[in-house]
Each structure stands twice: as C-alpha cells, then as structure tokens.
C-alpha cells in the first residue's frame, strides 16, 4: 500500500515537473533577449526543479520502502535497476544543475525519470537473481553500473540538447528554443564532466562484473552479449574521452559518441532485465 502510494506520488511529481519544463520551453520569446528569456522563465524552471527534487526524494523513499517490503537489497535485486537509475539521475541533476548551468536540461531529465519509473513497474517484477549467482561482488557490480548509467544518462541528455542547440545554430534559427535551452558550451562541458565522472564507475562495474562472471562461471549467450556490449560501452566512452583530450574532438562528434555509448549501456541494461538479472532466467 505504502509503496504504491509513494510510487503514485513520485509519478505525479514527475508529470508536474515535466509539465513545468514543457511550459518553460513552449512559452513565446517575443523578441526578448537571452537574459530576459531566462528571467521570464525562471519561475517555471525553479518550479520544475523543485518538483523534480521532491520527486527524487519520494522516489528514494519508494525504493527503500519497496525493497523492505520485498526484502531485497535494491542494488542486488533486478526489480529496481530502471527505477534506481531514474532516481539517481534526478538526484544528480538536482545537485549538479547549478554548477553546470544546465537547469533547462530538466526538460529531458523529468520525462526520462517518469518513463523509467513507469517502465520499472512492468520490467523484471517477477524475476529474482538465482542463488547460484549471489556473490559479495554483485552489489558492487550493480551499484557501480547504476551510478555510472545515471551519470551517463545526464551526459546523454546534455549531448542530445547540445545536438539540438548546434543544429539550431547551424541553421541560424536563433529564436525561441535556442534561447530556452542551456548554452552550447555549458552543455558540452556538462556532458564531458558527467562522462568523466561516470567512466571510472563503469570501469569498476565492468571489472567487478568480469571477476564475478568468472567466479560463477557463466557463459550463456545473453551473458556473452551483455559482456560484449559492456565492453563496447566502455570502449566507446573511452574513445570519446581520449579523442577529446588528444585530438580535440568536442561538440557534435563527442555528443554522438556519448549517445552511442549510452545506447550501448542501455542494451546491457535491457539484456540484464530481459534475462531476469545476472544468471537469472526470465
């Protein structure tokens, strides 16, 4: 009963936050300059961010209560990955948005969190990790990956918005949406920092996953696919970071690389959920 109430309240707050950011993006610009647009839209953005923060708190409460009801550790069970990723994404966003000046990215984060929360209701609910795969490494492996994916979600959101801004600039459509979205360089910088923060976590996740897989001696097709996409994700993000540092790959190329890496990480998550968790059988 309580988990359901928390779930509904969280979903409702995500809907309200999404509506608030949508209102901000859709409001007419009417010849205002960027500063005026930001000033006029400050109320909607603050409201949206506040609603997101509230949703994040209730989301965390829901995860804790639900895990207590199921008597499963959130990072160990497969009921939670989507939900936890959404929650972490929101919490990271609420904490870091001011630092990177990407408040308006809430317009992407809010609907993403809402979708992930709703999807978590239907994915992996009846699956449980087999006892044979339980290991001391498993919670670390899952935790590293979930934190990493949450940061990559933010990097991907920034990359997506960067591509929108870049396209608007190249087409010289500099009214309306261009003024509403965060500055181009702020998005590029945020994307890079989120990648930098997420990459060590992904590396630890991959290493712990590899160690854990050797320990439980898995070798099924889905495990191989998951491992393959896991390494592909790692290599993609490594390439994005390396090429940025070594060859100045910024902006559009880095954004596409980030989106590709994030898509690859989602494939890993999908295999994980579809398979019914590590070593599980859906």
């Amino acid at each position: 009963m309580l988990p359901d109430a928390l779930f509904s309240l969280t979903a409702l707050l995500y809907v309200a936050a999404t509506a608030s950011f949508a209102r901000y993006l859709a409001a007419p610009v009417d010849g205002m300059d960027g500063a005026k647009v930001a000033e006029e839209g400050r109320r909607d953005v603050r409201l949206g961010t506040g609603l997101l923060a509230g949703a994040g708190v209730f989301h965390a409460a829901h995860v804790v209560v639900f895990s207590l009801v199921l008597a499963v550790c959130p990072v160990e069970g497969i009921h939670f990955p989507l939900s936890v990723v959404a929650m972490l994404t929101v919490l990271f966003f609420v904490v870091l948005r001011g630092r990177f000046r990407i408040d308006a990215a809430g317009a992407v984060v809010a609907p993403f969190a809402l979708s992930a929360l709703l999807a978590s209701r239907f994915v992996g609910m009846n699956a449980a990790p087999s006892t044979q795969v339980r290991s001391a490494l498993l919670p670390f492996h899952v935790a590293f990956n979930l934190f990493g994916i949450a940061l990559f979600s933010l990097a991907c959101a920034a990359a997506g918005l960067y591509l929108v801004q870049e396209r608007l600039l190249k087409r010289k459509q500099i009214f309306g949406l261009f003024k509403r979205l965060p500055p181009l360089d702020a998005l590029d910088r945020a994307e890079h920092r989120f990648l930098l923060a997420g990459f060590p976590l992904l590396t630890l996740g991959i290493l712990s996953g590899t160690a854990w897989a050797q320990k439980v001696e898995q070798g099924g097709l889905s495990d191989l696919l998951r491992a393959g996409f896991g390494w592909a994700t790692w290599l993609t993000f490594a390439a994005v970071l390396l090429l940025r540092a070594a060859a100045g790959w910024r902006g559009r190329r880095a954004a596409w690389g980030t989106i590709a890496g994030f898509a690859s990480s989602l494939v890993v998550l999908a295999i994980y959920l579809g398979r019914g968790g590590p070593g599980g059988h859906s």
Partner: protein, 440 residues
Amino acid sequence: MIVVGLSHKNAPVEVRERFAAGKDQEVELLDALKNAGPVGECVFLSTCNRVEVLVAPKPDASPKEVSAAVREVLRRHSGAASAAELDGWLYERRGDDAVRHLFRVAASLDSMVVGEPQILGQVKDAFETAVRHGTVRGPLERCISRAFSVAKRIRTETALGVGTVSISSVAVDLARGIFGSLDASTVLLVGAGEMAEAACRSLGKDAKSIRVTNRSFERAATLAREFGGVASTLDALEAELSLADVVVTSTGATNYIVTAELVRRVMKTRRGRTLFFVDISVPRNVDPEVHRIDNVYVFDVDDLEAQVKEGMRARSQEVIRAEAIVDEELAAFRAWQRSADVKPLVLALRAKVKGALAAELDRSLAGKLKHLGEPEKAALLQLIEGATNRICHAPTTRLKDAASAGDADVLVASVIELFELSEPATSAEPIATERPARLH
C-alpha cells in the same frame, strides 16, 4: 530631391556588397555623379545595410534623366552588365517621398535595427564627405540638415533608442547562447572602425580579454588602449584567431579575409574549441563556408535581421510615435520649403519699395533738402529702411503664410502684377538687387 539605392529590406548581403564603397571609392563615386550631366547636388551613403545616392537635380533636368544618370554610375560601380540587371534591386523615391525616406533613414526608422544610433553618424559622415568635395550646397544640404534635426527630435521625444536591439546586442545575446557568459571568453575585433568600437562596448564589457587586429596598427592600438586590450596588425590574424572565442569582423576589405582554409588550420590549434564569428562588414569579411566547419559559427548582418525584427515588434508603439514625428516634420519642411519658394519674390518686393523710396529721397536731397547735413541724411536713410519694413511687412507675411499653406499662386501673381515685378526664380538668390540711396 531623388533617392536611388538599395537596402537590407530589398537586397541580400551578396548584392549589397557589390554596391558598397569604401571612403576612397565614395569620393570617386561623388566625382562620377557630379560629372553626370543632370545631377546638381549629390551625397553617397554606404553602410552595412544600405547604399543610397541622394540627388538634387539641376534646375533644367528632369527626374527621369537624373535617375538614369545615377543608375548608370551605380551600374558601373557594381560591375553589372546592364541597367536592367539593377532594376530588381534598386528602389527610387522622389519629391516628398524622398524627403520622408531621408528623415526615416536618419532617424533609424528604416534601419535593420530600428532605433540604433550608428546610422545618424554614418549619414553625417556621408554628408561631410559630400560637403568637403563640394557636391552639396543648396536645397539638398538644407534637407539633410533638417533630417539631422528630425533624428535628434525623435531620439529626444520617443523611447525609440532605449533598450535598442542592436547588432551588437544581438551578437552579445548569441555569444551568451553559445558560451553561457563571456567572462571566460576572449573577444577579437578584426578592424577598428566605428562598428568595431560599438561592438566592443557591448561584447567587451563582460569579456575576459579584448584583442584588436587591424590593417593600421596605430588605429588598433588606440582602440585596444581604450578597452584595455592588446593590439596587432592583420598579419597576426591566424595567431589571434587561435586565441579568440568571439570574433567581430568589420574591415573595409572587399574580399574574404577569413577563409575556410584559414579557419580549418586555426581549429586544429584550438583543439576544437568553439569559435563564433560576428561578421558585421559589407562586403563580408568571413567566407560563408566557414560556418560549415565543426564548432564554428558565422553570423553576418542579414542573419541577425529576423532577431532584430523581433526586438522591433516590442517597441512598435515608439515606432508609431516616431513615424508621427516624421509626418509632422515633413509637413513643416514642405511649408518651410514653399515659404522659401516665395523668398525671391519678397526680396524683389522689398527692393522695389526701397528703390522707389530711395529714388524719391535722392531727388529731394538733390533739390529742396540740399541743405541737410550728414547726420540728417543718415536719419532719412534709416527712415527709408523703416518705411520699407512697414510697407512690406503685411504682404510678406501674407505671402509666406499662403505659401506655407500651398495656396500662394494667386497672391504671387497679384504681387507681381501690382508691383510690376518680373517672374521670380525659385532660388535663394533675389531676383532684383536693392538699389541703395546714394548719399550726396
């Protein structure tokens, strides 16, 4: 008066840059116009957004002849194959329409950025160049002087220039849309003219640093000193581009000084850091191909037009008030012009009256008043002056009032008939000179 030209409203920058002229070319064009048969007075105005020739025809020239002569000069200047090629781009205003157009241009009502202050300075520069070269001295001079007063009045009585969305402010807004804030950005000015200075005032106040590169180092150094920046010559352009984040180009160069090849080289040294060009020069200084390069954005004056129009909408009430002032001033100018038209007749009338009185005085001084001394003679001359004024006051006032109202034809004919005056010429010169009374 006739205006022939083109502007941002009817011609894209690719066309405008064919007609644009630097200072030297302006003088050549003024010479060419002066030597064109039917042109009496002329001013050549060339800005980023417009190229216009303002002409007062010679008294015996028809507007059609003047138009053809001006178009031929512009055709040769633009390199067009035929006059027909220009017809699609050039507009023409005559008479009151031309005067209204000039008032609107000077008051920045016809500018891309309505209310921007630079245009008045540019019209003044063009006017001064024409004055220096002796191509303006009569009715056109008075009309342009009046345009300056109209512009000043609009600026004083309306809020047209308050919070203006100018090219510079749009550039600042765009730069903020790209970089967030400018406090970590380096602004590079390529060219050190008036536009660069205006851009620097907007862009430079928040920037981390300012750099100025110019053909003449002295001018670059002067501007750089004013804004606490670093100056260099154009030879250092590639190195300067490597350091800059926002580049404002406004040189008078007639070809691209920032090419795609140059920027590709620069982007390698910049390691992909974003580079933003604001090209406010016409002809353009930055090759449009540069905009295709990753992480490089180029906006020229036309690109900013729609943005500026958005800003204009917000000040539409002020535009309406300013347009009303233009209408009022145009009517006042027409009235003044008409009253100026009767000035030769008024002078002729005064001369006739004064001449008649002086002749009578001469006769008396030679006869019955021969005994008068110099002080008495001087007093009588003063008396003639006063009598002339009193006699002519009423007819002068009536004539001027009627002329202002555009209804002076009957009165003019009557005065000519009653006082046996010859038909006055419509010039500032009197048709008859006063004959002063001789002192014996």
